[in-house]
């Protein structure tokens, strides 16, 4: 009678599907943020040429619209979503299904991976939509092929989102443990992250001509960072009780 044996892989996948349904608001939030900021940048920056916003050295800019801004806000949105997913509330809701610490956290990580992938696609789509809209409003001729984003853009976009969700998740966990730890982590983040992020590009002087290989190199570094952060999160979570 008591021999329900469930395989871990199946359970993680079931939990992921459940989370996709229960927390679909995470996806809608990120997409809505992207759309809003796309429109914002489009309307505000329309007509201006050669924009580069923020401190993103990756050359993702186009003359009328910069994906950087949208990307930045998308990352922030993901960070906030993942922070919320780490809360005690979400933890308690998770306990209403068959779960263990490890499977709960792993399924959340899979959720974040899917979120990052979707966010990447929608961010890029918003970029193309903006280009198309701009073409309607200006009589200038922009050749579509000029604006085809290379694969490396997708990759780096995806990996950036992964890092953002990992940071948010870990921050949420830290916040639960102690406010001091959380504040310390945030401050550390501000100093350490940009340094680690761009160590590879320090060499290039002409930042607008960063080589394609560097994109992949940076992506790998970012990916490693994401893995480290996620592993840390999984490790901490697997020992926590639900109070």
């Amino acid at each position: 009678m008591s021999s329900n044996d469930i395989r871990m892989g199946d359970n993680i996948w079931q939990q992921t599907k459940w989370k996709l349904k229960a927390y679909n608001s995470g996806f809608t939030t990120v997409v809505v943020v992207q759309i809003l900021f796309s429109l914002f940048f489009l309307s505000v920056l329309d007509g201006m040429t050669h924009l580069s916003t923020g401190n993103m050295y990756m050359n993702l800019q186009v003359s009328i619209f910069s994906i950087d801004g949208v990307l930045m806000f998308s990352l922030i949105a993901c960070l906030i979503v993942s922070l919320i997913m780490a809360s005690q509330g979400a933890w308690h809701e998770n306990m209403s299904v068959v779960t263990t610490r490890i499977t709960a956290t792993l399924s959340t990580v899979v959720y974040f991976i899917i979120l990052s992938a979707v966010a990447t696609l929608t961010a890029v789509s918003s970029f193309y939509i903006a280009v198309w809209l701009a073409q309607q409003f200006h009589d200038t001729e922009w050749i579509a092929s000029d604006y085809l984003l290379p694969l490396r853009t997708y990759v780096i976009c995806f990996v950036l989102h992964l890092v953002a969700t990992a940071c948010g998740f870990l921050a949420g966990i830290a916040l639960e443990k102690s406010k001091l730890l959380f504040t310390g982590g945030v401050l550390a983040g501000f100093f350490i992250v940009p340094y680690v992020l761009f160590w590879n590009l320090k060499g290039s002087e002409e930042i607008s001509e960063a080589e394609p290989m560097n994109y992949y190199a940076v992506s790998s570094v970012l990916f490693m960072i994401a893995i480290v952060l996620y592993t840390l999160a999984i490790w901490i979570r697997s020992r926590q009780e639900v109070r």
Binding site: N4, I6, H92
Partner: protein, 288 residues
């Protein structure tokens, strides 16, 4: 199915459970009785794997509950604070039950909720206290988990629906026997339903026995104070009340040799539990 040996649980220096031991080998309905704050909910959370023991051995369906997928799929804990995703309707929650629990009874759940007039399109957080209690219990019963833990499941339900759902628990138990532990403040209400009583006090098990044994465990002697005093049974007394010459005592019958000249009355199981966990004499002392 459940093996607990010298279980200890400490929360930040406070010992909630100290040296708790008991074992359940087969499906039964057990009443978990104890005063407020004595550790009933903590024990249930430990059994379900929500908390980790500080010390001692704990095994449910053959494994340690904390971080065990086998225990998680064979155990369900229903508490008042059970949380479901905010935007889920009851239909979604039943769907999640079906998704995760292999023995899930969808039809039973729907019928019970229809009986209790709870619309499936509602949101869990929008239900009234009574409706929520009913839904939570239905969810717990429908999982048909080998170990079903119910933490004060009837809180908030009105009397009529309460007795209906006690019967629902019984019928489900007969249809699919499992180990059901019900923590309750009203033993008298579930006397007929349970097989064993697990009494917790001061962090440990004071008593774990079949209910019919507990019902026959003590007797009340009522009569003249002098007569009762002359029986010399002071060590056996669980409770004593005196008013002038009138005296009532509750004692364990084995310690009595001869009983004459006094009335002998039975003592209910819930009274036995009360007397065994009484603090400092009893409520009358407050009024002295």
């Amino acid at each position: 199915m459940i093996h607990v040996k010298q279980l200890e649980k400490k929360f930040r220096k406070k010992n909630v459970l100290t040296n708790l031991s008991f074992a359940v080998e087969e499906p039964k309905i057990i009443a978990l009785i104890g005063r407020n704050g004595v550790g009933k909910s903590t024990l249930l959370k430990l059994l379900a794997g929500h908390l980790k023991p500080t010390k001692g051995q704990l095994e449910v369906v053959g494994e340690k509950p904390f971080n065990s997928l086998k225990v998680a799929s064979n155990t369900i804990l229903i508490q008042e604070e059970i949380a479901f995703p905010q935007y889920f309707t009851l239909v979604d929650i039943l769907q999640q039950g079906k998704q995760f629990y292999p023995n899930w009874q969808q039809e039973l759940a729907e019928k019970l909720l229809a009986y209790a007039d709870i619309p499936l399109k509602s949101h869990h957080s929008k239900l009234s206290t009574g409706q929520r209690a009913v839904f939570n219990l239905v969810y717990g019963l429908a999982t048909r988990c080998a170990v079903t833990l119910l933490d004060e499941p009837m809180n908030g339900m009105d009397e009529a629906i309460r007795s209906d759902f006690y019967r629902a628990i019984l019928k489900e138990y007969i249809a699919y026997p499992r180990c059901i532990i019900i923590s309750s403040h009203y033993l008298a209400e579930i006397n007929h339903l349970v097989e064993d009583i697990l009494l917790i006090d001061k962090g440990a098990i004071t008593l774990y026995a079949p209910i019919h044994e507990v019902q026959e465990m003590a007797v009340k002697l009522r009569g003249n104070k002098a007569v009762i005093d002359s029986m010399e049974i002071d060590e056996a007394i669980l409770y004593r009340y005196t008013e002038d010459q009138f005296c009532e005592v509750v004692v364990f019958p084995e310690r009595l040799e001869q009983v004459t000249g006094v009335e002998v009355l039975p003592v209910s199981a819930s009274e036995v539990c009360k007397y065994m966990t009484d603090r400092k004499g009893g409520i009358d002392d407050v009024f002295k």
